[in-house]
């Protein structure tokens, strides 16, 4: 079964603290993994994808195939990072790739 699990519904930290949003996936093949973010009153948007291996807004995510995890990390949280974060995977099968989302984690960064 294809599944994405985000074990934390809410992660609350203080400004300047490190952040790690957990994501585990279940998929028999080699999926492509993503993190999407939704800021207050804004639409869902792509934050980063594992194949890019880039850092966006200070966030990074490493794909660990052995642990089937794709945790999102940032060394120093900022108040503007407060948002809803969704981990998602897409089965790599042809060009028509649906997204399978986790339930999301709300990150609250306090001053």
């Amino acid at each position: 079964a294809q599944r994405v699990t985000q074990p934390e519904k809410l992660l609350s930290v203080f400004k300047g603290a490190p952040v790690e949003l957990k994501c585990n996936y279940s998929y028999s093949g080699s999926p492509e993994l993503f993190w999407y973010v939704q800021y207050s009153r804004q639409r869902l948007q792509l934050l980063l994808r594992h194949i890019s291996r880039e850092s966006i807004k200070g966030f990074t995510a490493d794909l660990n195939k052995g642990e089937t995890s794709f945790h999102l990390k940032k060394p120093f949280a900022q108040e503007e990072d407060s948002a809803m974060y969704y981990c998602a995977l897409t089965p790599v099968s042809g060009g028509y790739n649906k997204l399978i989302f986790g339930a999301g984690t709300r990150l609250a960064v306090h001053p």
């Binding site: 869902l44 792509l46 969704y86 998602a88 060009g95 028509y96 997204l99 989302f101 986790g102 339930a103």
Partner: protein, 111 residues
Amino acid sequence: DAGVTQSPTHLIKTRGQQVTLRCSPKSGHDTVSWYQQALGQGPQFIFQYYEEEERQRGNFPDRFSGHQFPNYSSELNVNALLLGDSALYLCASSLRGHGYTFGSGTRLTVV
């Protein structure tokens, strides 16, 4: 570029009625996917349209149907509405299934 446009933004329907939601994809995109997001959950894939045909379908009953027009815009139809169909319906467009851009969604309330 207005990005992905969805209409209406909010809708209230009575149980048993039928509803049609509309989506205009981002300029240059040819593929439209629909997602249902229940309160507190991540988006769930309903189906995807490319070249006016349904290419993939998620685990949704036949009450959910769609259409894609020659200009790539799309409609989502839901028949015999149930209370459990109350959700945010998201449209995402892409170029041949890669690089999704999401709309702001239509909030459907079934009473």
